[in-house]
């Protein structure tokens, strides 16, 4: 039963900032986008060389890029995804990183 008393104590409410609603641990992803220049063989080679992915996985990701227009090629903390995106851009692929959704 509530008692009607005057209190100067701060109202304790669950205040959650927008930033905290989105889990800070949510993994980030690196995405490779399709482009008309990069060859299927070359893209497969890049995934094998950089990620050391086996041929079958590299080819599957390459086909996803080719047919779906984009593929998530790695996920993890933001710093790692920035590193992956930078490395893949070094290979000439159109790579971006973003928070997974």
């Amino acid at each position: 039963m509530p008692t009607a008393s005057l209190s100067l104590a701060p109202v304790e409410e669950e205040v959650t900032s927008v930033e905290e609603v989105v889990s800070p641990d949510l993994p980030w992803v690196t995405i490779v986008w399709n482009d008309p220049v990069n060859l299927m063989t070359y893209v497969t080679w890049v995934f094998e060389s950089y990620f050391a992915y086996p041929r079958t996985k590299a080819e599957k990701l390459m086909m996803d890029v080719h047919l779906k227009g984009r593929a998530v090629v790695s996920h993890g903390p933001r710093e790692s995804m920035e590193r992956d995106a930078e490395a893949l851009q070094g290979y000439g692929l159109w790579a971006t990183f973003e928070k997974d959704s």
Binding site: E82, G92, T96
Partner: protein, 207 residues
Amino acid sequence: MARAFLRESEGLVALLDDGERTILSGLMQQTRVLLSPEIEPTGDAFDDLVASMGVSLAADQGASGADAPHRDPALDRLLPTAHRGDDEVAAEFRRLTEEGLRQRKSSNLDVAIDRVAAASEDRVVLDDASAPAFLIALTDVRLLLGERMGMRTEEDAEALHAAMETIADDDPLGYAMAWYDFLTWLQETLAHALMGDGDDGDDGDDV
């Protein structure tokens, strides 16, 4: 007439005649000029890394990178935005990475230009160290050439190839397209040779 890259005892070898080497080298040099870093690579990976960090930190005032007033649009293809949807994140990433990327790409192109120049009896010979650099350099040259021809989507590429059927002999676009296709073929054969295809030759990957 050119012969594709094949694995031989010396390494990966292609046969390119004088004219082909001159054009290839010229295109690589043009790409190299566009990508030139503020501090030229020294060949020492550690020195280059330290040097590029200095430039990244100095680039704070937005006078370089994507904000520069006269930035060549082709650079947006060679050094694309790394974050779609958040310009601030993208700009920060570019500030921190662009100089390093320019250095790495330039150094790949330097290796490739050197291998073309070193050809003897039309033989362009690559070893395990220079082959990946050559392969990546070919990508950047093709990206630049593609961008110059307006090839930004698959539809653009199809339209360009279709236009070749009726194009006038003296149209520079036809000339550019012919070299683009030549580089595509050369890169395809190098990628296959590097990946050791032939033992699992069931993939007929094409553009």
